[in-house]
Amino acid sequence: MRHPGGPGPLTGYLWMTMRLTHVRAAGAVAAALLSTTLANAQCPGDLDASGAVDGADLGVLLGAWGCSGACPGDLSNDGFVDGTDLGLMLAAWGTCPPSSPAAEVPLAAVSLAAWPWASWVDTFNSNGSVGIAIDPAQFPDAAGRAALLWVVEDRSPAEWAANAALSDARPAGPQSITCPSGSIQGNVLSLNVSGLVAGNGDAPARGYDLVVDLDQDGTLSPGDLIDGRDGGAGFWWTKDIAALGPYTTAQIASYDVNDADIIDSMELERIYYPTNAPGLRPIVAISHGNGHNYTWYDYLGNHLASWGFVVMSHQNDTVPGIASATVTTVEHTESFIDQHATMGGGVLAGKVDVDRIAWIGHSRGGESVTYGYDRLFDGTFTSPSYGLADIRCVIAIAPTDFLGTASANPHAVPYMLLYGAADGDVCGCPDSDIADSFNLYERAVGLRHSTYVHGADHNDFNCCGINDFAGPTGTAIGSTAAQSVAKASILAMIRRSMFDDRAMEEFLWRQNESLRAIGQSSTITVVREFKPSPSTASPIDDFQANTATTVSTSGGAVNATGVTNLIEALANDANTTFTWVTTDPWNGSVRNRTTDSSRAGVFDWTAAGSITWSVPASLADFSKPRALSFRAAQGTRHPNTTAALGDLDLTVTLTDTNGLERSIRIGTLGGGIEEPYQRSGFGTGAVGWQAEFETVRILLGDLNSGGGAFDLSSIATVTFRVGGADGSAQGRLLIDDLLLEN
């Protein structure tokens, strides 16, 4: 019986799928059918996959002439090898047309509750699952088709060019799937992750490439879909970065460096190191705060050592002040480098990478590591043992800002700020710049990240400091929970900075609702900021130039409709209270001194409105950058903020030069702009504390979801739509750093 219908464009695929199914089902291999596994799916008559339809193929066809059922040469897929097939072969006679390579497409994804229905991220926790989003609209050739889904150990482009054979990393091998039809909505598949190994030596994440093997030939071949061939992995399968890493650790509990450059009473160090890690290990130095102790950071020392770092925590001369503390920071670093080979009987000899150093400082120590970098930058401190380039990142935990703009300045070093919203000491209070940690963060001009933890206080980030919690009753998360956040975010930052670990980068910018360490409780609220190095981002508007509200940094027009009180200026709370008054539009933005320069925009609304940025032609191609990002914070104690507490939502719309739009509600990506921590003080009435800037990073590839004629390569405007049907009914937002990120 002949099948109804004629041959369609998928004949070759269907034919081969049937053959493979047959072989597997029968459990036998027929020599006559073996060659069919070579068939070129892009050139159906090319039965031997030689790149041409020629006599050899004709021989195969004639050899099967009259065959019925599963037969080689049944090009019409009607169950018979006959004149119809011969006609198709002759029509295709000659060299096959050039075939396109397998397409590099995003596959690994998380599903979203609203359009674009999926976000093609790369990092996944190994206690969860991996979504596979094959958008039927973008890849119609795959829609509805059976395929094999392969998970292959991450290969470089060169490795893929040299070896296209697929080898599945899972014990059970590739997974049969049916690519979804219709819409991606509700059709994100789940990767079978059974047996998938997470982590790779020091690296918490192991990279895998994903292949949708549409012709099911076990080879990456034209027509297949791949995620991860063109650089980076298709996805990263990640261990718990809040948990101990792969190495066992040991400790030199107290070592006296006896250095003439360090005052006698400040010469002790505690050293944590991995005992079984191969090769040279980077250095992490920890500088404690005032009244703190170098022995108070075992949680962090052991954690980082277990992930392959040699950690040195030293006595820090904080009581006289920051300059004194900075001397101990820079000199202990030098002493450690100079003496490590003999410490502990030589256990570190030949095992320390003195060219990779991270500095971590807490409170006054956080300022001392920042000032230490500034001194290296300015040349007021030099060392024969290390230099500016060896400091790969600086991490400040609730630092003070005694020294101000010129000296408490991270310059372009990758910089991280870790801060607890209930800090009762370096409180972020409006009456003193010294207590405003974010001043230092705003001065950082390189890659930078902040982790802002609700319910954590200053001394939650060490073992033994006084309970300084200053927040709403019942919101304290305690030191164990705070330290789980600290361990994860610090590890992610150091690995991103030292090793360009892109798997870890997602822990620095994805909304906490979307990605957090496995060991971090889901009930902890964490607000994240991330800004890449200027070399990898182009500002559409960062408010630093073209200071009129009608012109963006990039020179395009800015048009505001329906919103009120739009201004841009230095983002500096100008009085000493957090009480909302119209004369202090930057209320809560304790992020600048008057000598600083970080500007931002702010506006509010109680009805539908929008702000539209015209995109200059030089930036109009959004198809190349990876993301469109911005940061925003709710206005502290503003009536619109307090009238309806919650994460604040809005819609971002891109319009191409043909007038076609794509819009995404930022809440879809994980909660929107965080509801302010409900801390009181420095004013009366409504509560709320310092501005909690949060980065929203929209992956531009997500906006292709659903296909269509929308043209990412020619974007005319970016619009923030607020109120009405586009998000929160009312609100006040501080906004900044509208960037295209590569």
Binding site: D264, S265, N290, G291, S432, A470, T473, G474
Partner: protein, 211 residues
Amino acid sequence: MTTFLAALALATVPPSIPAPAPERPAAAPPTQAPSDLAPIPATPAAPIAIVAVQPFTIAQPYTHRFRKDGSEFATGHLIVLRAEAGLVQPRQVAEPVLCVGSQTAERLWSDPAKGLIVAIVPTWTERTADGTERPGDPAVDLVYFATPELPERVDATWIAAERARAEAALAGGTLRKAASREVVRHARLDAASQDALITRAAELLPDPSIR
């Protein structure tokens, strides 16, 4: 080659991001938990009492880091003070600078619960009313907590201004000089080094458990 059944592959739930929680109406502000970190009292302030004083010498002089214009010293006093917690508590923001006469003190240890501070006061000179000079004595001269600042940033001019404020407050009755009637005067300590001095200073503490 082994394959899974498609049905099995779809049996697990793909990762997803939850929809945002709805906003909620404003409610009464939550109760704020009190911090254990005592607020800083107004300055100038005085200790409650001078508990102990011990003159010392050290064989290896070292630089007094608790003032911008500090110089090397080889003699001075160890002192133990009792003060209210807000003055004793170490903190990251500026602390009231501990001064004795025209000298700043180096805070060594503190115990807010017991209200104790142990400090080093390098030798300084006091000018008397008749214009002559005498060595300063912590058991006699004014001990006070000055304006919060980093000690490494203060100099003689700053100290003089703070001292004048303290003396004015004393004269005006808003500052009460620390009690020193029961001060324990120890015999001179001759230490070899800063480390040795600090170690011996611990012996001044009335309760060893706070060391």
